[in-house]
């Protein structure tokens, strides 16, 4: 659009960008840099800011040597290795069912979306109750088949799978909707051509649908990796990081260090570790996405 480059335009551009740019600087750029700065200090939130002491790389040294970071990363990976494949399969399944035209499709869509609307606080509370070792719904259900379920959230092996279960329930509707949008976008003529060639449902799915929506699948995986490093609410309410250190994760550490142990600096160091991880994941995505997925559609 052609617009005269006059004072009016300049003022408009300035004013329209002002809120965003101010927010960008004050609440994103400054914080990310000051988080780095803060991580070199010992700073107690209950003491005046003058009491800050410079301690150099000490926080990072503790972080790397204590084994806590290793536990944090192991737990996060354990979570992602279970969660990501399941969420992809489940939400694709839901999406492909919803992509058909049938009576009552809206009702099912709303039903599948209910957990997404539920806050994590409420979701975590209900799952904490479902996963109770003795009185929980899940173990009672398993007992019906003669299986004795574990005390999920207080068992160090099963706590994370319990959280994954709750997360799948909570998130699959969201990703199903994203996949649904992608499925609807697939050109119908491909399927018609395949049907003439006598392809079955599975063949159509694996040969046409899957390659065509692979960019979206890739995107969803990346989104989930990034989100996986930031899980908090579910863990915080369901296990609080326990039992032992079986479910401690980065954001939970940031919160605890800052507000329970009064170690703002250490929390900031954790923040920067998180930032670096996400930076690397995003970088890999940019670098390699062209090589991995089919962008023909």
């Amino acid at each position: 659009m052609y617009i005269k480059n006059n004072a009016q335009k300049k003022i408009t551009v300035f004013l329209f960008l002002l809120p965003s740019v101010a927010g960008l600087i004050v609440f994103n750029v400054v914080p990310i840099i000051s988080a780095l700065g803060l991580s070199f200090f010992r700073y107690d939130i209950l003491k005046p800011i003058e009491d800050m002491t410079y301690i150099g790389l000490s926080h990072y040294r503790t972080l790397l040597s204590s084994g806590e970071l290793r536990a944090v990363l192991t737990n996060t990976l354990y979570y992602m290795v279970m969660y990501i494949p399941i969420i992809i399969v489940v939400s694709l399944l839901l999406a492909s069912m919803l992509s058909r035209k049938f009576k009552g499709v809206t009702v099912y869509k709303v039903l599948f979306y209910l957990p997404v609307l539920t806050s994590w606080v409420a979701g975590a509370l209900i799952w904490k109750w479902i996963l109770n070792g003795e009185y929980g719904l899940l173990n009672q259900f398993l007992a019906f088949f003669g299986i004795q379920g574990p005390s999920w959230l207080t068992n160090r092996v099963w706590a994370m799978p319990g959280i994954v279960l709750a997360s799948i329930w909570k998130d699959s509707g969201h990703f199903a909707l994203i996949f649904l949008a992608a499925l609807i976008g697939v050109n119908k003529s491909y399927y018609e051509a395949a049907e003439i060639d006598g392809a079955g449902t599975w063949k159509k799915f694996s040969r046409i649908t899957l390659p065509l929506i692979s960019p979206i699948i890739f995107l969803v995986i990346i989104i989930n990796i990034i989100a996986g490093f930031q899980i908090f609410e579910s863990i915080f309410i369901m296990t609080g990081g326990g039992p032992g250190n079986a479910t401690i994760v980065i954001v939970e550490r940031i919160y605890k260090n800052a507000f329970k142990f009064y170690r703002m600096g250490y929390a900031a160091a954790y923040s920067w570790v998180l930032f670096i991880i996400i930076f690397v994941v995003t970088y890999i995505q940019f670098k390699f996405k062209k090589r991995w997925v089919n962008y023909d559609s």
Binding site: G23, V110, V121, W129
Partner: protein, 279 residues
């Protein structure tokens, strides 16, 4: 078997499968309702009873009447916060998106890529410094402090820019010839034409704010300012094994957002299909 019959069986099978999945999804909700209708003694009895022996609404009464624990106030706070945050965030995103989509100026592309780059800085990374910034601005424990970081929404700017860029320039040129200023063009032409995208963004921001927990948890410290999620979280530590109360509270917290969703559900989907998703 005729082809017709086969099709019919297939259809029934499909309904059965999708209904089973739907049931799995809503079982936790049913269990939540069932638990909330029990008394405390009935919580830990086996075998499980889906329909409680003595159905009672006591849990709801108790939850609503916990001293200094106003659920009605929290509902209001949540609505207020979510609506204002949505308005602020969507407006500021729309304004920036308009500029990025339609008004060329020097350095536009650089600035836009900076915007995009910040999409990978998650809130949990900037949380601690933002907390300290708010502390020094004396904005802790205020709604303003809680809302103001959301004035910048990189995802929102991106989403709206994509949509606005796809709108034909002819609309604006006509308005410009009529002597409309840029501000008028934005409000009278651009915003109405972007409704679907605005609604999608508004819903995401609304739901995100409604359900957010960690940020309000550290910013708000006054009980009177608590949101529903904070009230619920606080309840969960205090009434740890009073599950009937927790479930009643959860149900109260879920209902408003489900209503909001049902209202705009149809609309939302349309917006999503309009190409809100991009790789």
């Amino acid at each position: 078997m005729t082809l017709d019959k086969k099709k019919k069986i297939k259809k029934i099978l499909f309904y059965v499968i999708i209904s089973i999945i739907a049931l799995l999804v809503i079982v936790p909700f049913l269990w939540m309702i069932s638990t909330s209708l029990k008394g405390r003694e009935a919580l830990r009895t086996l075998p499980i009873r889906w329909i409680p022996k003595d159905i009672t609404l006591d849990a709801y009464k108790e939850v609503i009447n916990i001293p200094n624990f106003s659920f009605t106030r929290a509902v209001f706070n949540s609505f207020y916060l979510s609506i204002v945050t949505t308005f602020v965030s969507v407006m500021s995103s729309a304004m920036a998106a308009f500029i990025f989509a339609k008004i060329p100026f020097k350095g536009r592309n650089v600035l836009f890529s900076i915007f995009l780059a910040t999409m990978m800085i998650p809130g949990s990374v900037t949380m601690i410094p933002n907390y300290i910034i708010l502390k020094h601005l004396h904005l802790l424990n205020t709604f303003t402090g809680l809302i103001i970081p959301f004035i910048f929404n990189a995802f929102g700017v991106f989403l709206l820019r994509q949509h606005m860029a796809s709108i034909d320039d002819a609309y604006f040129e006509a308005a410009a010839i009529d002597g409309a200023s840029l501000v008028q063009i934005f409000f009278k032409v651009m915003l109405p034409l972007s409704k679907p995208a605005l609604a999608v963004l508004a819903f995401f921001v609304f739901a995100g704010t409604w359900n957010s927990y960690l940020w309000p948890l550290i910013v708000l410290t006054d009980r009177a300012k608590y949101t529903l999620q904070l009230v619920l979280g606080t309840m969960s530590t205090r009434f740890g094994n009073y599950e009937h109360l927790l479930m009643a509270g959860s149900i109260i917290s879920i209902i408003p957002i489900i209503l909001a969703y049902i209202i705009i559900q149809h609309f939302l989907e349309e917006g999503l299909n309009l190409g809100g998703i991009e790789g």
